[in-house]
C-alpha cells in the first residue's frame, strides 16, 4: 500500500503498541497463575498491576496438574475433542467423496437437503436433544458430548468442495486398473485430501475443546465436565474456590492446547475460517 517510509514506520509502531495492549489480558492471566495464592488473596497488583509475576511460583500449575478436578476435565476434553475430530473426519470425507465423485441416484436432491441443515443452530436443538439423550440414558457419558456435532454438515460441505477440485483422470486411471470405490477412496482420494482434512480437523478440535452450552446441558456430574465447562464452574463461585492463582492456572491449562494448535497451524486455521464462511 502507498505511503511514505516514515508514515509506514509510525503505522507499525502504533500497531505494535495496540497488539501489546491487546495481549495484556492474556499476559495478566498467565502472570496471576504464576503468583502465590496467599499474595493474590491480598492484592492482584503486586508489581505493575500484577502483570509481572513476582514473587514467582509454579505451585498453582503443579497443583492443578496433579490435584483437584482439572486433570480429569483436561482428560475428558482430550477424549471428546479427539474422538469428535476423528469421527467428523471419517463421516465428512466419506459423504463428501460420494457427493463429489459418485453419480448415485438421489444425490442432486440429497446434497442441498444436507446443506440445509446448516441453518439449524445448536441453540435451536439443544432442548429436544437433551430430552432424547435423557430417554436413552446417554447424559454424563462421552457419546452424549460427541454425537451432536457429528450431524453438522459443514465438514461435508468442505470435503465435497475439495473432492470436486480433484481432476477426473486421477480417479479414472485407477478405476480402469480395476480398483473398487473403497480402494480408490482410501488409497488415492484420502492421501490427496490431507490438506483439507487438516483444516477440518483443526476447526473441529477447536470447536470441541471450546464448546460450552451443550456440555453445560448434558454433563451434570463434575467427573464428566470438559475443561471448558469445569472452568466455568470454578469462576461461578470465585469466593469459595481454591484460590485465584489456581483458577487462573486452570485457565492457562485450558488455553494451552488450542493456543499451541493455532500457533502450529495458523495457515490452516485462517484458510478454514475463510472457506467455512463462504468466501
Amino acid at each position: 500500500m502507498a505511503g511514505s517510509r516514515s508514515q509506514r514506520r509510525l503505522l507499525t509502531l502504533v500497531l505494535v503498541v495496540a497488539a501489546l495492549v491487546w495481549l495484556l489480558p492474556i499476559v495478566w492471566m498467565v502472570s496471576l497463575a504464576l503468583q502465590p495464592n496467599d499474595l493474590l488473596a491480598r492484592t492482584t497488583s503486586n508489581v505493575a498491576w500484577g502483570l509481572i509475576p513476582w514473587p514467582f511460583t509454579l505451585d498453582n500449575l503443579t497443583y492443578v496438574l496433579s490435584q483437584g478436578m482439572t486433570p480429569r476435565w483436561f482428560l475428558n476434553s482430550a477424549i471428546v475433542a479427539v474422538s469428535m475430530t476423528l469421527l467428523v473426519l471419517a463421516l465428512s470425507s466419506m459423504a463428501g467423496y460420494a457427493f463429489a465423485r459418485i453419480p448415485f441416484p438421489g444425490r442432486r436432491l440429497l446434497y442441498p437437503l444436507v446443506l440445509a441443515g446448516l441453518v439449524i443452530p445448536e441453540q435451536a436443538v439443544f432442548i429436544p436433544l437433551y430430552t432424547m439423550f435423557a430417554d436413552w440414558g446417554w447424559h454424563n457419558g462421552y457419546a452424549a458430548l460427541v454425537a451432536p456435532r457429528l450431524a453438522v454438515p459443514i465438514g461435508v460441505f468442505l470435503m465435497t468442495q475439495f473432492f470436486r477440485g480433484i481432476p477426473d483422470y486421477i480417479e479414472e486411471a485407477a478405476t480402469l486398473d480395476g480398483a473398487g470405490r473403497w480402494t480408490v477412496f482410501t488409497r488415492i482420494m484420502l492421501p490427496l485430501s490431507v490438506p483439507a482434512m487438516v483444516t477440518l480437523a483443526i476447526l473441529t478440535f477447536l470447536y470441541a475443546w471450546n464448546d460450552y452450552l451443550w456440555p453445560l446441558v448434558s454433563a451434570s456430574r463434575p467427573e464428566m465436565f470438559t475443561i471448558t465447562l469445569g472452568l466455568a464452574s470454578l469462576q461461578s463461585n470465585f469466593a469459595d474456590s481454591e484460590g485465584l492463582g489456581r483458577v487462573m492456572a486452570s485457565g492457562v491449562l485450558a488455553s494451552l492446547p488450542v493456543v499451541l494448535l493455532f500457533l502450529l497451524f495458523q495457515r490452516q486455521v485462517v484458510r478454514g475460517i475463510a472457506m467455512g464462511s463462504g468466501k
Partner: protein, 386 residues
C-alpha cells in the same frame, strides 16, 4: 468459534450430474454399483444427520406445542399436555394489546429515517432493488407496525420479559458488530503486508479468538472487578474511583460487549485480509501512477472492492452474536436487573432452571426463525448475486 457457512450450491454440479446420468444409462452394471456405493458412503453421516439434527429439530417444534415440565415428564412420560400454539401466544402477545401511533415514537422515528436512507441509496444505485425492497419491507413491518404494539392501561404482555430480552440481544448485536467490523477492517488494512512484523502482529491480534468463552469470561470478569481488576488498578493509579462495570445497569452491557470485541476481532480481520488479497495489484499501481494518496486509494479502490466482504462479515457476525450466551451467563449472569439477559440464556434458564421445556422450545423455534432470516441473507451474499 468459526461460524458454519450457508454455502451456495455450485451451479457446475448440475451439469456434471446430468452428463453422468446419461453415461449411467449406457453402463447399467456400473450405474447399479455407483448407486449402492454412493448410498453406503453417505449412510454414516446421513444417520447422524437424521438422528442428531433433523429429529431433534422436528421434536423441538413438537415439544413447543406442549405444556412440558422437565421434571414431571421425567417421572411420568404422559405428563406433557398438548396446548397448541399457546406457548407462542404467551410469548408474542398478551391481554389488551393495542396499536398506538406514539408508542416508542423516538425509536420508530429513527427507524423511519433509516428506511428513507435506504430508499435514497436505492435511488442512487448504491444497493440493488431486491435488497432495498426487502430492507424497506422489514423496516416498515418493524417500525411502522410491530413497535407500535403495546398493552393498553388494563392490559399486559403474556411474557413481560420476552420483548425486553429480544431488545437486549439486538442491543448487544448492534454494539458488537459495528465495533468488530470497523476495528477488523482497520487492522486488516494496516496488516496487509508481506513482512515478518505484520505476520507476528496478525497472530497477536488473532490469538484471543481461539480461547474458549469460559477463559475469556474468566479473564474479563476479573478485569472488570473494581477491587481486583486491571481496569481498577489503572483507575486508582490515575487517582480515579474504579468503575463498577458489572453491577451498573448502564455499564453491564458495554462490559460484555468489550469482552466480546476483544474475543472475536480476529475473525473479522481474517475475512477482511482474505478480501484484500483478492484485489489485483495492478489497480493499486495504476492509482499510484496517477499520484493518488493513501486515503484516496483506500476510499476509491480498497473499500469499494471490499463491499461484498464487508456485507459477509456483518451478516456472519449478526448470526454469531445473536446467539450470545457465555458472556452474559458468566460475566453478568444476565443482570443487573435483566439488563444483559439475552435470548439463548433465557431459553436455557426457562428450560433448565424453571423446567418449562415447552415454553423454552417455543422460544428456541422463534430464535431459529430469526437466524433463518440472516442465514438467507448470507446465502445471497455468498452467491454474490447482490
Amino acid at each position: 468459534m468459526a461460524i458454519p457457512a450457508r454455502p451456495a450450491p455450485d451451479p457446475a454440479v448440475g451439469a456434471i450430474g446430468t452428463s453422468r446420468t446419461g453415461a449411467r444409462r449406457r453402463l447399467g452394471q456400473r450405474g447399479w454399483r455407483d448407486a449402492v456405493a454412493g448410498w453406503l458412503f453417505v449412510a454414516p453421516f446421513l444417520a447422524a444427520y437424521l438422528l442428531f439434527l433433523i429429529t431433534p429439530f422436528l421434536r423441538g417444534i413438537w415439544i413447543s406445542l406442549h405444556d412440558w415440565n422437565l421434571l414431571a415428564v421425567a417421572i411420568n412420560p404422559d405428563a406433557a399436555r398438548f396446548v397448541g400454539v399457546r406457548n407462542y401466544t404467551r410469548m408474542l402477545w398478551g391481554d389488551g394489546i393495542v396499536w398506538t401511533l406514539d408508542h416508542q415514537w423516538g425509536m420508530r422515528l429513527a427507524g423511519l429515517v433509516a428506511i428513507a436512507l435506504i430508499a435514497w441509496w436505492w435511488h442512487r444505485g448504491v444497493i440493488g432493488r431486491g435488497t432495498a425492497l426487502a430492507a424497506i419491507g422489514a423496516g416498515l413491518l418493524l417500525f411502522g407496525l410491530l413497535l407500535g404494539l403495546n398493552p393498553a392501561d388494563d392490559g399486559r404482555w403474556g411474557d413481560r420479559r420476552f420483548w425486553p430480552i429480544v431488545g437486549n440481544t439486538l442491543t448487544f448485536v448492534a454494539l458488537t458488530v459495528p465495533s468488530v467490523t470497523l476495528l477488523g477492517l482497520a487492522l486488516a488494512l494496516g496488516l496487509n503486508r508481506d513482512d515478518r512484523t505484520s505476520a507476528v502482529l496478525r497472530t497477536a491480534f488473532f490469538l484471543s479468538q481461539v480461547l474458549s468463552v469460559t477463559v475469556v469470561t474468566l479473564i474479563w470478569q476479573l478485569t472488570f472487578s473494581p477491587r481486583q481488576g486491571m481496569l481498577g488498578h489503572a483507575a486508582r493509579s490515575l487517582g480515579l474511583d474504579p468503575i463498577q462495570w458489572i453491577t451498573n445497569v448502564d455499564l453491564a452491557m458495554p462490559a460484555i460487549v468489550i469482552a466480546t470485541v476483544w474475543w472475536s476481532l480476529g475473525f473479522a480481520m481474517i475475512l477482511f485480509l482474505a478480501g484484500l488479497q483478492e484485489i489485483p495489484a495492478e489497480r493499486y499501481e495504476a492509482a499510484r501512477l496517477d499520484g493518488a494518496g493513501l486515503w484516496s486509494i483506500i476510499r476509491f479502490i480498497t473499500l469499494p472492492a471490499l463491499s461484498r466482504t464487508t456485507t459477509l462479515v456483518i451478516v456472519l457476525q449478526i448470526i454469531l452474536h445473536f446467539q450470545v450466551f457465555g458472556q452474559s451467563h458468566l460475566i453478568t449472569r444476565g443482570g443487573p436487573n435483566d439488563a444483559t439477559q439475552v435470548l439463548v440464556r433465557y431459553i436455557y434458564q426457562t428450560g433448565f432452571r424453571n423446567s418449562e421445556l415447552g415454553y423454552a422450545s417455543a422460544l428456541a423455534v422463534v430464535l431459529f426463525l430469526f437466524m433463518l432470516v440472516f442465514a438467507m441473507l448470507q446465502l445471497r451474499v455468498s452467491r454474490g448475486d447482490d
